[in-house]
């Protein structure tokens, strides 16, 4: 699980060009949207494509995304339980 969390932090920083952040700056429970990393709806789309491409998880319900993208820890937990890759 800790490896997956590390991998997600690295991928998100690279994918979303979060040049201001390093892996150490992101706490596992930090909010991804709003006050935490400050991601927005376009980032949500990028994350949905990443889930499909890297882990074989297709999100079809937008409400589902709201739950899953709460934090890195929640996202890692969801991937662990649902990954096809």
């Amino acid at each position: 699980m800790s490896n997956l969390i590390q991998e997600l932090k690295e991928n998100i920083i690279e994918l979303l060009n979060l040049e201001e952040f390093s892996v150490e700056d992101i706490n596992d429970d930090d909010a991804l949207f709003g006050d935490g990393l400050g991601l927005d709806s376009i980032d949500a789309l990028e994350l949905m494509v990443m889930l499909d491409k890297d882990y074989g998880i297709k999100l079809t319900d937008p409400k589902e995304g709201k739950e899953i993208f709460q934090s890195i820890a929640v996202l890692a937990d969801y991937i662990e339980k649902n990954r096809a890759k």
């Binding site: 994918l15 927005d40 499909d52």
Partner: protein
């Protein structure tokens, strides 16, 4: 018809033209085949959230555009006009490469959204919350001139009081290498390919020492033999004769098509200063915007750097400047400026 004045000029180029006022006495000669722009600190002009999604051309354009408005004391222009030859080629390359690599699946939105040619104009409008007329021109080496012509018409017809006009092109990463591969080594472009963004605020308001944009004329095709006639007619339409022009800035790039510039130069007397700039700033579709920046600088500061002069003639007083640009014998433009 109102007169059209240039209230500010800002450029990001291969030389240090942005951070400080122009100093070409210490310009760096470009030795590579590709010359990236000398990038300023974009964080000062663009919010971090927006900056992280922007490719080079968008960063250059938004920053140069904002600074041009700042220098002209304009918060919200009546129009935003941009010209670009290759548009946002960096994001286009990213998007198309992802399309191929992922077998047309898993396409992410950012590079697609920002790959359109009007991204710079749109991002400036978004940053300013400006709902005014916004247009982008894509016409090869006449892209910037088309935007400038639109801006000039808006001012002259009194449809707008202040217009932001700019030319932007970025090098990108891959397409430029294919361009270099097919470029004729002997007869083709001999200066480096480069990138840049130059923005101007046009206004109908005459200020002290105002620089006037007298006229712009463009031609898709003219022959070498037609150049002197066309140029004489252009000057005559503006009540000028060749002897009235103090400096001519041509877009020589070392290719065989420089012969067009030789034909143009031949109509001017020996007292007219002959200048070139692409050896310092490189070639790109909107390089003529860089020439306009130089023209404005020379008229404003009454200074011509030796590095720009062909031959050894430099006038002490410069009141009228003619810009002539073309690319591969096509897309000719003449721009007339005066103090």
């Amino acid at each position: 018809m109102k007169a059209c004045y240039i209230h500010s000029a800002v450029s990001i180029s291969a030389q240090n033209t942005f951070e400080t006022d122009l100093n070409l006495s210490e310009s760096n000669p470009i030795t590579s085949k590709k010359a990236n722009a000398n990038h300023p600190q974009y964080k000062t002009y663009i919010a971090p959230g927006a900056l992280r999604r922007m490719a080079t051309g968008v960063k250059m354009g938004v920053t140069a555009g904002k600074k041009a408005l700042e220098k002209a004391n304009i918060t919200n222009p009546d129009a935003i006009l941009t010209g670009t030859g290759m548009g946002c080629i960096e994001d286009t390359e990213n998007f198309l490469n992802a399309l191929i690599a992922n077998d047309e699946a898993y396409l992410t939105p950012t590079s697609f959204i920002q790959s359109t040619h009007n991204t710079v104009g749109a991002q400036i409008a978004l940053a300013l919350q400006c709902n005014a007329y916004n247009n982008t021109y894509v016409h090869g080496a006449l892209s910037f001139e088309s935007a400038l012509l639109d801006g000039q018409l808006l001012i002259k017809n009194d449809d707008s009081r202040s217009v932001l006009v700019g030319g932007i092109d970025e090098l990108g990463k891959e397409f430029i290498d294919y361009t270099l591969l097919v470029e004729d080594k002997k007869h083709g472009v001999q200066v480096p390919f480069s990138e840049g963004a130059s923005f101007f605020v046009l206004s109908s308001e005459k200020q002290e020492k105002a620089i006037q944009l007298n006229d712009i004329k463009t031609f898709s095709n003219i022959t070498e033999q037609e150049v002197p006639t066309v140029l004489n007619e252009f000057l005559a339409e503006n009540n000028y004769k060749p002897k009235d022009i103090d400096a001519v800035i041509c877009g020589n790039n070392g290719s065989v098509y420089d012969s067009y510039y030789s034909k143009a130069r031949a109509i001017f007397p020996i007292t007219t200063s002959q200048l070139h700039y692409k050896h310092l700033f490189g070639e790109y579709f909107t390089a003529s915007a860089m020439a306009l920046y130089l023209g404005v600088y020379i008229l404003k500061n009454q200074q011509i750097y030796d590095t720009l002069i062909i031959g050894d003639n430099s006038k002490n007083s410069i009141k009228t400047i003619l810009l002539y640009n073309q690319f591969n014998g096509r897309d000719h433009s003449f721009i007339l400026l005066s103090l």
